[in-house]
């Protein structure tokens, strides 16, 4: 992690250590690269086929949940995973490894197309929910950017691997926060 990054560790009496790693893209929903940002977040941890789920959970069996939370107002994709305390360093390395894989373009065609299809589904399905329609319009009024899910879905169709690689290389790991379980079985 770069020197300016923040690292915080706290403890609590519990079973499971939770690791949060905040990657800052600097892209918000009013920016032209917004669809690429959604793509980056999806590839990293937005779907069961994503790097975090398929590696941290399925391949290594180290977590039940390993995914990302996206903050489209501040431009963050935050990896979050629940693990046993003894594995925290190993999992932190694994998460950084997955992000570096994206930076280096180690993204298969299957990963690209599965992410594209999944994002398109979520965005097009917004029209089925009044709440989602209202939310999208409200965000547009405040921050600009797309007015409907369909608009974003159309642009998702055009995102390329190179777009994602370029954005990943401009993204910085800004903070690592670990809530350490004390007294786990």
């Amino acid at each position: 992690m770069p020197e300016e990054g923040i690292r915080v560790e706290e403890g609590f009496p519990g079973q499971q250590t939770v690791l949060c790693m905040a990657f800052h893209t600097g892209v918000t929903q009013s920016d032209a690269e917004f669809p690429t940002f959604l793509f980056l977040d999806g590839l990293l941890g937005g779907f069961p086929h994503s790097k975090l789920f398929s590696v941290v959970r399925e391949e290594y069996g180290l977590a039940y949940f390993a995914d990302t939370v996206i903050d489209t107002w501040r431009g963050f994709t935050i990896a979050i995973t629940g693990i046993s305390d003894g594995e925290k360093d190993r999992v932190e390395d694994l998460v950084v490894e997955q992000f570096d894989a994206i930076r280096k373009g180690r993204i298969s065609d299957e990963e690209m197309e599965n992410t594209r299809a999944g994002l398109r589904r979520r965005l097009m399905a917004e029209a089925d929910y009044q709440g989602s329609i209202v939310n999208r319009r409200l965000n547009h009024e405040i921050l600009g950017g797309a007015q409907t899910g369909e608009e974003v879905a159309e642009r998702i169709l055009e995102v390329t691997r190179q777009d994602v690689v370029d954005l990943a290389n401009e993204t910085e790991l800004k903070c690592v926060y670990v809530l350490r379980a004390e007294g786990a079985n």
Binding site: G14, Q15, H49, S54, F65, G118, R120, R121, D128, Y129
Partner: protein, 432 residues
């Protein structure tokens, strides 16, 4: 395919097409203009099914706690790879969950519905387990158990049910324990799959913008290619959950405010339509006594005892229980007040206007259910098991009488109750 009469509701202008396909009960809800297309395959098998007589044997077996949930996890792993990824590659999103009485597998998609349906059948009806993948899943589920252990509300409910039901599997954790999951092997999974995942024990619910004949014909074609034989009904062994309750407890956890939960075991058991009536009547009773518009809530709120009371009642043929919970700085005081309120209303009786208001609110909520495929699906599947359906539910609700609510007071017998408090170390429990 054997078509069954279509369910209709003239008031809502909704209809559900029904069929029996190779033993599977199939429902289709047309939803024109919606983009999402949904399918849920529900197996009538849950964490409560830990004792059964396997096919071809004479004696019951007991499997470790957590098998139904473990099985749900492993059904997505196939010889060719991971089914979640296969759903992703057709643009679909799949998920599953295990509850006390059901295991549900479902997906949502915009396109490729036929491929999704075929994949769903393969997930549910083609088991594939290896010792290696079972061992790996134990680590994943151990993390899941840990995640729930750290959630105070989850812990609260688990403790209450364990103490209410020392004799019935609803007192067990759905995911099992760290120890119980170690006892699960691939043979256990194959045994349970063989006995419970038969087509006759499954329901398929589909919803989306399709022509009804198109939808049912598609289901017939796809189910037909995966299922030859409806299979047998499982031989479940379930105790009646009406025995004496255990002791209450105070549990130490790191929480900002203490949590209080009171559970009441229902002495009486019901079946079919009477379960629906009992659940509605108890829900009304709880809402009248503890809801946001009750005098009781206003009083506890003004006294600063709590800002929210959560309550529910659920019933199955073999057990029924009520839960009331709250976050409060004074758990012992609030607990006494809750018991007193039950007795006060039992003595004083119910206000007819309160009852009418609750009924109108419930009808309003029923109507809004119809925007959610998932809620309609889960309700219809459950009601099917009770010999009812989502539209007869509306009639039962409309016909509910205040006498039904009076009759539900006996679900709140103080001798059948258990209280659980979760608080930080050092918080005094004996405040008066």
């Amino acid at each position: 395919m054997h078509k069954l009469p279509t369910l209709t509701d003239d008031f809502l202008k909704e209809e559900i097409y029904c069929a029996d396909i190779c033993g599977v009960n199939v429902f289709f809800l047309p939803k024109p203009k919606f983009r999402r297309r949904y399918a849920e395959l529900c197996v009538n098998y849950g964490s409560n099914d830990n004792v059964f007589v396997p096919r071809g044997r004479a004696e019951p077996v007991e499997v470790p706690a957590g098998v139904a949930h473990f099985l749900e996890h492993k059904m997505f792993e196939k010889p060719w790879g991971d089914a979640f990824s296969a759903f992703s590659s057709i643009g679909a999103s799949a998920n599953a969950y295990t509850s006390n009485n059901y295991t549900s597998y479902h997906f949502v998609t915009l396109d490729n519905y036929d491929k999704g349906l075929a994949l769903l059948m393969e997930v549910v009806f083609s088991p594939y387990f290896t010792e290696e993948s079972v061992e790996r899943e134990k680590r994943i589920i151990a993390q899941e158990i840990g995640m729930y252990e750290d959630q105070p509300n989850w812990r609260l409910l688990r403790e209450t049910l364990a103490r209410l039901y020392p004799e019935h599997p609803v007192g067990l954790d759905i995911s099992g324990t760290y120890e119980s999951i170690q006892q699960i092997h691939k043979d256990t999974l194959y045994l349970c799959h063989e006995n419970f995942y038969s087509p006759a024990n499954c329901v398929l619910f589909m919803a989306g913008d399709f022509d009804p004949d198109q939808a049912l014909n598609l289901a017939a074609e796809i189910i037909g290619s995966y299922v030859k034989d409806p299979g047998n009904s499982p031989c479940r062994i379930r105790p009646h959950g009406t025995g004496r309750v255990g002791e209450g407890a105070e549990i130490m956890m790191s929480v900002p405010t203490p949590l209080l939960q009171i559970g009441w075991k229902d002495r009486r058991l019901f079946d079919g339509r009477k379960i629906v009536i009992r659940e509605l009547a108890c829900a009304f009773l709880l809402d009248i006594m503890f809801g946001k518009t009750s005098e009781f809530f206003e009083e506890v709120y003004d006294q600063g005892l709590t800002d929210d009371l959560i309550f529910s009642y659920e019933a199955w043929p073999d057990y029924g229980f009520t839960i009331v919970s709250a976050e409060t700085e004074k758990p012992e005081i609030l607990k006494e007040m809750i018991f007193e309120q039950v007795e006060r209303i039992r003595t004083r009786g119910l206000d007819e206007q309160d009852f009418e208001r609750k009924k109108n609110a419930a009808l309003g909520r029923f109507i809004t259910m119809f925007r959610s495929f998932e809620v309609i699906s889960q309700s219809q599947i459950r009601l099917l098991g009770l010999g009812e359906n989502i539209f007869s539910y509306r009639s039962i609700l409309e016909d509910l009488d205040i006498s039904d609510v009076y009759a539900s007071f006996d679900s709140l017998d103080p001798d059948m109750s258990v209280s659980v408090i979760i608080a930080n170390e050092g918080v005094s429990m004996d405040e008066t």
